[in-house]
């Protein structure tokens, strides 16, 4: 352990050379200490800064806000903080990643510490400034990755449209929205006719290609607000917010015609394709979103029974 | 003759702190009360020429004590002792008939100053 006397020059050296900005202000906002980090980054030597008003030295600082922050430390005798996430920097300094950075200036976290006299009053405010540019870059990289991951987990691997998990959660959201705020909601379920034959006769690669092409055709028909997804093997679904049964039937018929006229082919060989469609609308007494799916499924089954390549609306028992 | 005073606070420690902050030369007879109801009992028993009154208490709080005293014709010198130091809180108790306001934590100098100001000591 060093005695106090020996420690003083050492502490002074560390304070000056530590890779953190440290400066101290008195009640008149005059700088009383300005360490090496601040000197280097601001390109203002300590002797030019000490004794002068911070806001006269750096007119570009957000004076009103910063003065209020510093005053709060004097008055409330309390720590104060700023974070790069809300305020990217206090001083516009260059960062040390000129090549790989991707941000325009050094990101900073600052702490404002009250320096109390023996009487308990705050005499000075000490500000520490930490370069968090690296952290900010990593965080935005992580955020990008999370967004991509999130997006990927909502998508069907083969077709790139939404998957069943996402469709159900969207449908649930819409269901809750309508229950709370009124409005309408319809759900379309459709199935490729005789898809098993394509798989059996032409192979799974052909089946996959047909599924991809079908999702393209369906995508081109739906409206901006609709959500299209692959519901199961050869089953697709469309959520139609703010849409009554009549509107959903028109859309469903458009889907059916587009597939029928879709000119599907595999290895230059034409593959005729049709779909069977079921449509259901949410009514005030529909108890759950699952029931809505079930009703569309019932209507889809009726389309199949009636000879396929057709659209059926779920009929509510009178 | 010793002045009968009552110290009203639900916290035993707080009453102790208050007693300690009273000027030692003041000739007094101290009664302690843990809520507003006990304070009014002390007042009716003639034990509260001066009352040091906390505001937040169970059973009956300081505001209710002030209101009751006002209704019955205030005849005691109430000094409110409170941790709620907002100026508006002080105005409020003064308008209810308190004579002075001391903020917690109490200190001897402040208590002496107020007692001298009103010629109590």
């Amino acid at each position: 352990m060093l005695s106090k006397l020996d420690a003083a020059p050492l502490l002074e050296f560390i304070l000056d050379r530590v890779n953190i900005g440290v400066f101290v202000l008195n009640r008149n906002m005059e700088v009383v200490l300005w360490n090496h980090f601040m000197e280097t980054n601001s390109q203002r030597p300590s002797q030019d800064v000490v004794g002068k008003n911070l806001f006269e030295l750096f007119p570009e600082l957000p004076k009103q806000w910063l003065e209020r922050k510093i005053q709060s430390v004097f008055v409330l005798k309390n720590f104060a903080f700023t974070s790069w996430e809300q305020r990217p920097y206090l001083f516009r300094f260059q960062h040390n990643r000129p090549v790989t950075g991707g941000v325009d200036s050094m990101r900073q976290n600052c702490t404002f510490l009250p320096v109390k006299s023996s009487s308990g009053d705050v005499e000075f405010v000490c500000v520490t400034l930490i370069d968090v540019t690296d952290t900010s870059i990593y965080q935005s990289m992580m955020q990008d990755a999370l967004n991509k991951l999130n997006e990927a987990s909502n998508r069907d691997g083969l077709t790139g449209i939404y998957n069943r998990r996402f469709l159900e959660s969207e449908l649930n959201k819409e269901f809750c929205r309508v229950k709370r705020y009124d409005g309408s909601l319809s759900f379309i379920l459709l199935d490729l006719d005789h898809f098993k034959n394509i798989n059996d006769e032409k192979g799974h690669l052909a089946g996959d290609e047909i599924l991809r092409r079908t999702s393209e055709v369906l995508s081109s028909c739906i409206r901006e607000s609709d959500s299209l997804g692959r519901y199961g093997g050869e089953e697709f679904a469309v959520i139609c917010p703010q849409t009554k049964l009549k509107g959903a039937m028109i859309l469903a018929e458009r889907l059916r015609q587009s597939v029928e006229n879709g000119n599907f082919s595999f290895h230059n060989e034409r593959v005729p394709l049709t779909i069977s469609v079921g449509v259901a609308e949410l009514y005030p007494d529909t108890p759950t979103y699952e029931r809505l799916i079930h009703e569309a499924d019932t209507a889809l089954y009726q389309s199949k029974e009636a000879g396929r390549n057709r659209v059926t609306a779920f009929e509510r028992p009178a | 003759m010793a002045t009968p005073i009552t110290i009203v606070d639900d916290s035993a420690m707080s009453r102790k702190l208050m007693i300690r902050a009273l000027p030692p030369e003041w000739d007094i007879e101290i009664t302690q009360a843990a809520n507003g109801k006990e304070a009014l009992d002390a007042y009716h028993a003639g034990k509260a020429d001066v009352m040091f009154l906390d505001l937040t208490m169970p059973v009956m709080d300081g505001y209710e004590v002030l209101e009751t005293l006002k209704k019955e014709g205030l005849n005691t010198f109430v000094i409110v002792v409170s941790a709620d130091i907002q100026p508006k809180a002080q105005e409020r108790v003064m308008s209810l008939g308190a004579m002075a306001f001391i903020k917690k934590p109490v200190n001897t100098d402040e208590v002496s100053r107020i007692l001298k100001e009103f010629g109590i000591i």
């Binding site: 922050k69 709060s72 008055v75 409330l76 005798k77 309390n78 720590f79 104060a80 903080f81 700023t82 974070s83 996430e85 809300q86 305020r87 976290n109 702490t111 308990g120 | 916290s11 035993a12 420690m13 707080s14 102790k16 702190l17 300690r20 937040t56 409170s82 941790a83 709620d84 130091i85 907002q86 508006k88 809180a89 903020k103 917690k104 934590p105």
Partner: protein, 204 residues
């Protein structure tokens, strides 16, 4: 409950220390917001880990969604502070502080962090000044926005079995603004706090 971490005298002393600290914090808040702050009696509880989420929900009330800020404190005492606002905490505060224009999301967050920091700092300063202890603070951060109360505390992340929970509420006169400030200290911090209270009681 098997643990009795505070004697009645210690509890009484802590309650009073907390009253005084709350008064000072309330005064700080009143000065920032230029409004009269209504204080309630602070509550002190010892909770075991399995009940902490229920206790927090009970304290905050059955509000649908909340926005919460957390901040750590350390040195002589060690723990975490949570400041819980209603889901529209940011907007309410911006209104009160007279921001006429719509604040962008980052400015709203900054405002929320600032106010939480003032409340936490004021109450803990009040405690440390009375008890003669020293504290440092980490930067506050937003813990949850428009979240359910019960999701605030993740039981899987807790490594203590008992904690001391100090609760202070602030509301504003004639305004629909409420905030709950919770200070959570785990076992070892309770020992430190108990030591500081004992010392304080001996000194009076």
């Amino acid at each position: 409950m098997s643990l009795t971490p505070l004697t009645e005298d210690q509890r009484d002393a802590l309650q009073e220390v907390l009253n005084i600290a709350m008064g000072q914090a309330g005064d700080s808040l009143a000065r920032i917001l230029d409004a009269f702050v209504e204080l309630s009696v602070p509550r002190i509880r010892v909770v075991d880990v399995s009940h902490v989420a229920d206790t927090v929900r009970e304290m905050v009330g059955d509000r649908h969604e909340v926005t919460a800020v957390r901040q750590s404190f350390f040195d002589d005492l060690r723990g975490e502070a949570l400041v819980i606002f209603g889901a529209n905490g940011c907007k309410d505060l911006a209104d009160l502080m007279g921001y006429a224009e719509e604040l962008d999301q980052q400015s709203e967050r900054e405002l929320l962090l600032d106010v939480a920091n003032v409340l936490v700092g004021a109450i803990l300063n009040g405690i440390t000044e009375t008890l003669g202890t020293e504290l440092s603070y980490s930067a506050p951060s937003i813990m949850a926005e428009k979240a359910q109360v019960e999701t605030l505390i993740n039981l899987d992340q807790l490594s203590w079995s008992h904690a001391l929970l100090l609760e202070v509420n602030y509301s504003l006169e004639n305004r629909d603004f409420k905030s709950h400030l919770l200070l959570l200290m785990a076992e070892e911090a309770i020992d430190a706090l108990r030591g500081a209270i004992d010392q304080f009681m001996e000194s009076i």
